[in-house]
Amino acid sequence: MTLQEGRAISKAITAPKPPRRKASRIGFGDWILPIYALIAFVFLLIPIAYTFVFSFNNSVKSNIVWREFTFDKWLNVCDQIDVCVAFGNSLVIGVTATIAATVLGTMIAIALVRYRFKFRAGISLLLFLPMATPEVVLGAGLAAEFLSAGVQKGMATVIIAHTMFCVSFVVVTVKARVSTLDPALEEAGRDLYGSPAQVFWRITFPLLLPGIIAAALLSFALSFDDFIITNFNAGTLSTFPKYIYISAARGIPAEANVIASAVFILAIVLVLTAQISSAMRRKRLAKVN
């Protein structure tokens, strides 16, 4: 059965709803998947737990052997000044590249959904290819271009590179949001004599905002954790992943674990808050209906 056939069948069988089967007893088979999922989650979280635990290790040079528990590394992260500088660079690069990629990508997403134009297939391909190209090729290509143009590598070249690979991801994310938008809302705005700018900023933009925020967060995450493309285009500039790569040979200081753990906790709290608040909103809506 092909996919299309499967879809057709699933559409054909819509009504009436069959009575839900009652599980008469919970057999062994019903436990396999939950137990497997539990083991899978533990497996996925092992290196995270390891990194977190070793951020409390009172390590001297390398942070491989457990010595003793201390809060010291959390309280004095910037004693290892190189880690903090690298982290600061990563933040600046992440924020700048995110803003640039989000603006460029959102504009493209709106144009793709809302307007008809020539070369649509070509443009779609140009947007798809950066996501289908291995990072090492993107990095080496840009580095070859900068080399032949005689551009000095540094913060600017890294920001250019990160913006480039984030644009496509922004387009995909925002496009999904634009295509769920009801054009009637904008038409209503125009009917009420809103200028194109007013219609955009007071109707389209607020409705797109959740998609734009999701795209920006994704861009920042991609940029912040990128190593491969950065390594080719950073020259002597240090970023957080690059710092880890370089110090991997002689041992990572516990301060790096502190920063990574703090970023992890912040990201998890952000995501969980968003999840729980949207679940609560769903409940409220369900009550109203």
Binding site: A40, I48, L104, Y115, P134, V137, A161, S179, N257, R282
Partner: protein, 303 residues
């Protein structure tokens, strides 16, 4: 597009309006940017891959030429690395698929009655993304090092030869690649399985098919879009990766992948034409494999 699997939501029917001036203004900056920093770099890689050393020139100085022998030389010298990269990447993709499918099935189908639980489990799946890629790979290196609890107990139980190692071997590299790209596999699988109509599975069992037949004839074909997206999202970065195979991480001598060779030629030995030719080969092989794979799995509309 393969990656639209990540996006959910119902598309409103929209007749695109003709206002090509506004469309042009919206598209131009981004498209020019991608041309300048994505297409031009690819072209300059092609040009670099044909360059030859300047006679009596300095280290790392090349001039434009048409030295196609570069490609022959590269395949001769690094053929093993190229094969190894794709071998590791294929293995990692298969393991990631085997690991992710039951997990995605549980989250997307079995846990449907509890949407909050579903979302929380998805957060757990993407949690590894929130901690540095390099640090989580190094964490595995410590956890699975020769002196570690895991390896010493395996050896004590005679499940591993006393003089065997795990880190530094090809198996460790495949392990690392699998672990690092699991979320890329699980998410698209989840979004395909989440839409699976379970009544079709009941129909299968009503028609006296065994659970296995139902799975391979109904569930797998219906989740094919997710499988294809997941395979692409895992295979492409895995084939070009050079962190896991690096000696300071999970690799050792004899595990170097094509990415390691590109990196050392470009950044260490400044042998740009070799690095460029290898990049072009990597990209070409991936594009060919992706096209064939997507055509054969009957999901051309993905791209």
């Amino acid at each position: 597009m393969a990656f639209s699997a990540f996006a959910t939501g119902t598309a409103q029917e929209q007749a695109p309006r003709r206002k090509s001036k506004i469309a042009l203004l919206l598209l131009l900056p981004g498209i020019l940017y991608l041309m300048l920093f994505f297409l031009v770099p690819l072209v300059s890689l092609v040009i670099t891959s044909f360059q030859e050393p300047i006679p009596f020139g300095d280290f790392g100085e090349f001039q434009t030429a048409f030295k196609w022998e570069n490609y022959v030389e590269v395949v001769d010298t690094y053929g093993a690395h190229i094969l190894r990269s794709f071998g590791y990447a294929i293995l990692a993709t298969i393991f990631a698929l085997l690991f992710s499918y039951p997990l995605a099935y549980f989250i997307g189908v079995k846990a449907r009655r509890w949407p909050l639980l579903q979302n929380l489990m998805l957060v757990l799946v993407i949690a590894p993304f929130f901690i540095s890629f390099l640090l989580r790979t190094l964490a595995w290196k410590s956890i699975l090092s020769d002196e570690s609890f895991v390896i010493t107990s395996l050896k004590a139980l005679s499940l591993m030869a006393p003089d065997a190692h795990f880190t530094g071997t090809g198996a460790a590299v495949v392990f690392g690649l699998t672990y690092n790209f699991i979320p890329f596999m699980t998410l698209p699988l989840y979004s395909a399985l989440e839409r699976l109509d379970t009544r079709l599975l009941e129909a299968g069992s009503d028609l006296y098919s065994t659970p296995a037949t139902t799975f391979f004839k109904v569930t797998v074909p219906l989740s094919m879009t997710g499988i294809v997206s997941g395979v692409l999202l895992t295979f492409i970065p895995a084939a070009g990766d050079y962190i896991n195979a690096s000696r300071d991480f999970l690799g050792g001598t004899g595990t170097a992948m094509i990415g390691n060779v590109i990196e050392s030629n470009f950044l260490v030995t400044l042998n740009y034409p070799v690095a460029a030719a290898l990049s072009i080969i990597l990209m070409a092989v991936i594009l060919v494999m992706v096209t064939v794979y997507v055509k054969r799995s009957g999901t051309e509309d993905l791209l």
